[in-house]
C-alpha cells in the first residue's frame, strides 16, 4: 500500500477523526463538498491515511451476516448518549451510573437497616463516583506524527496504536520514542509514564529502555513510571524481565523477573529493591491513571507530588526534606489535585502554603 510504514500506525485521535471523515465521504448527497478538506487531511499525515484505511476495513468487517437486531424503541428513546465523547468513555460512565440506583435503594430500604457504617460507605462511594467522573480522560491530542516520537503536555495523554497490534498509552507530561527493528521492538520512555499492552511475539522482544534499565516483555501488559531518578515497573498481566542498567548479573545470574501484580523499583544508584505486592491488591490499579485515577501505595510524598505535577496545571512542590519523606498511600483524582492538597494538612503533619509560584507543602 502507500506507506513506508513505521511502527506507529496512528493515534487514537487520528482514528476518531478518520471515522468522522469516513462517514462524510460515504454520503451520497452531501450538503457541501468536503473533498478538498478531506484530501488535505489525508495528505497531512501518514497516520491519517493509515487510520482511514483501518476504519474502512472495520466498516467492511462489520457482522452483516449476523443481521444484528436493531435496539428496541424504548432503549433508543431512553438513551442520552450525545455523541460528544467516545463510546468507551460513555461505557465507563455506564459502569458507574448505578450510583444513583444504589442511593435510591439505600433510601428505599431505610437508613436504620443500613446503620451508620453503611451510611458512611454510601457517602464514600458517592464521593468516589463523583470524583471519578470529574477526573475523566483528557481529550487525546496529537502531538507527534508517524515518525515515532511522542510528547504530551501537562495533564494531557494519548493512545498510540502500533503496527504489530501493541498499544501504548502515554501519560501526562511524558516523552516516548518508538523504533522497531527486525530483531527488536524498541521503545524509549524518557520521562513520565506509559502503559504498554504488548502483542505476543516470542521471536520479537518488546523492550522498553528507561532510566536505570531495560524492561523486556513478550506478550504482557505493564506500566512504567519515571519519577526523577527512579523507574518503577508494575505488571498487570504476564511477566516481564528487567535488566537494570548498571547492575550486571553474572553469567550465572538470571535477569529479574517481575510477574503480574508485582512492582519493581530501580533507582539510579542501582540499589534494586523488589516490592512484592500482595495478592489481594488489584494488579491493574497502577494503569488506572488512564481514567484519571492515580493510585499510590506507600510512596514518599516527594515522589507522589513529583508525579502529580505531571497532571496539575497549578505548580505543586514540597518545601522541605521532612515533608518529602512522609509516606503516602491513597487514591487521587486527576481533576481534583488541588482539593487533595488542601485536605493534606488534616491527615499529615504539614501545612499548605499558597504562594505566587504555586502550592507548597511544608512540614510543621
Amino acid at each position: 500500500m502507500t506507506a513506508s510504514s513505521g511502527p506507529v500506525l496512528y493515534t487514537a485521535a487520528q482514528r476518531s477523526e478518520a471515522a468522522e471523515w469516513f462517514v462524510l465521504i460515504r454520503d451520497e448527497s452531501p450538503e457541501r463538498d468536503f473533498l478538498q478538506d478531506w484530501l488535505r487531511w489525508m495528505d497531512a499525515d501518514e497516520g491519517n491515511r493509515r487510520a482511514f484505511e483501518a476504519v474502512e476495513s472495520a466498516w467492511n468487517a462489520a457482522p452483516t451476516r449476523l443481521k444484528p437486531r436493531l435496539p428496541s424503541r424504548a432503549a433508543v428513546e431512553s438513551d442520552d448518549y450525545s455523541g460528544e465523547e467516545l463510546v468507551r468513555a460513555w461505557l465507563r460512565g455506564q459502569h458507574r451510573v448505578p450510583w444513583w440506583r444504589r442511593w435510591a435503594e439505600m433510601f428505599a430500604t431505610g437508613w436504620g437497616a443500613t446503620g451508620p457504617r453503611g451510611r458512611r460507605v454510601a457517602f464514600a462511594t458517592s464521593i468516589f463516583l463523583v470524583l471519578g467522573l470529574v477526573g475523566y480522560i483528557a481529550r487525546q491530542e496529537l502531538a507527534g506524527t508517524g515518525a515515532g516520537v511522542f510528547q504530551t503536555k501537562i495533564g494531557e495523554q494519548f493512545e498510540i496504536v502500533l503496527s504489530d497490534g501493541s498499544h501504548v498509552w502515554l501519560g501526562a507530561h511524558s516523552r516516548l520514542s518508538v523504533a522497531y527493528t527486525a530483531s527488536r521492538r524498541e521503545i524509549r520512555l524518557e520521562s513520565g509514564e506509559a502503559y504498554f499492552s504488548v502483542h505476543k511475539d516470542k521471536n520479537w522482544p518488546f523492550v522498553v529502555h528507561s532510566v536505570g534499565g531495560d524492561i523486556t516483555a513478550v506478550g504482557t501488559a505493564f506500566d512504567v513510571r519515571v519519577v526523577s531518578n527512579r523507574v518503577s515497573v508494575a505488571v498487570t498481566q504476564g511477566v516481564v524481565s528487567v535488566a537494570p542498567e548498571r547492575f550486571r548479573p553474572g553469567p550465572d545470574a538470571a535477569p529479574l523477573r517481575v510477574g503480574s501484580g508485582q512492582q519493581l523499583t530501580i533507582d539510579r544508584e542501582n540499589s534494586v529493591e523488589m516490592l512484592v505486592v500482595t495478592a489481594s491488591l488489584n494488579p491493574g490499579e497502577r494503569a488506572r491513571w488512564r481514567e484519571g485515577v492515580l493510585v499510590y501505595r506507600d510512596e514518599t510524598l516527594r515522589d507522589v507530588v513529583l508525579d502529580l505535577s505531571r497532571y496539575s496545571p497549578q505548580p505543586l512542590t514540597i518545601g522541605d526534606r521532612t515533608a518529602g519523606e512522609l509516606r503516602f498511600s491513597g487514591v487521587i483524582y486527576k481533576g481534583a489535585i488541588e482539593e487533595w492538597a488542601s485536605a493534606l494538612p488534616e491527615s499529615f503533619p504539614v501545612t499548605l502554603d499558597r504562594e505566587p509560584n504555586g502550592l507548597i507543602i511544608r512540614s510543621h
Binding site: 467492511n60 468487517a61 452483516t64 444484528p68 433508543v76 431512553s78 467516545l86
Partner: protein, 196 residues
Amino acid sequence: MITDERQSLNTKSIPAVPLTERRNPPEEVERLFREHNASLLRFICAKVGSEHEAREIVQEAYVHLLQLDHPEAVGFLRAFLFKTAANLAIDRLRQRRRRNHVTTMGDVDSAAFELSPERQVAGEQHVALLEVALRELPPKCQMAFVLHNVHGVAVGDIAQHMSMGKCMVRRYIARALEHIRYRLDMTGESPRESSS
C-alpha cells in the same frame, strides 16, 4: 439530467486501454494519477465497500477523463475526476439495491444484503469480537450504525426515521465505527486485514 449522463456513461462500452498506450495522454491526467490515485481509491472504496469494485470504477473514471475532447476546458480536473468516479459508484450501488430491494425503512428487518467478497471473509474472522463491540454501543449509536452499515439505509432517511439532523446521525455512525475499530485494535487485529 445528470442521471441520464451517468446512465449513458455507464452503458457505453469503453475500451480498457492502459494509460501508457494511448496517444498523447494528457500530462495533467498522469499527474492526477500520480498524486491522487491512492486517495481516489480510498474515496470510492468507502462508498462501495469493495476494493476490487473500487479499482474498476477508478479505472473507468480515468478512461472517461482521457476521452474528453478538451480536458483543458474542464476547470478543475481533479474535482471532475472524483465526481465522475463518485457518480459511477452511485450507479453501482443503485444497481445493487435494485437487485436486492433494500433501503426502504419498512422492510429493514427482512432485508437481504449482498456482501462483497471482502465482507464475507472479514465476517468469518471477527464475528464474535464485532458482535460484542456492536452490543456495547449506546442504543442510538447502534441503531444508526446498523441501519447504515448493515441495511444500507441512507443517512438522510435515518435522520428522518430517528427524528434528528443528518449531522447527528453521522456523528453516531462515526462514533460506532470508531468503537469497532478500537475493539479490533485492542486485540491486535491487523488494521488492513480486509483492504489489502
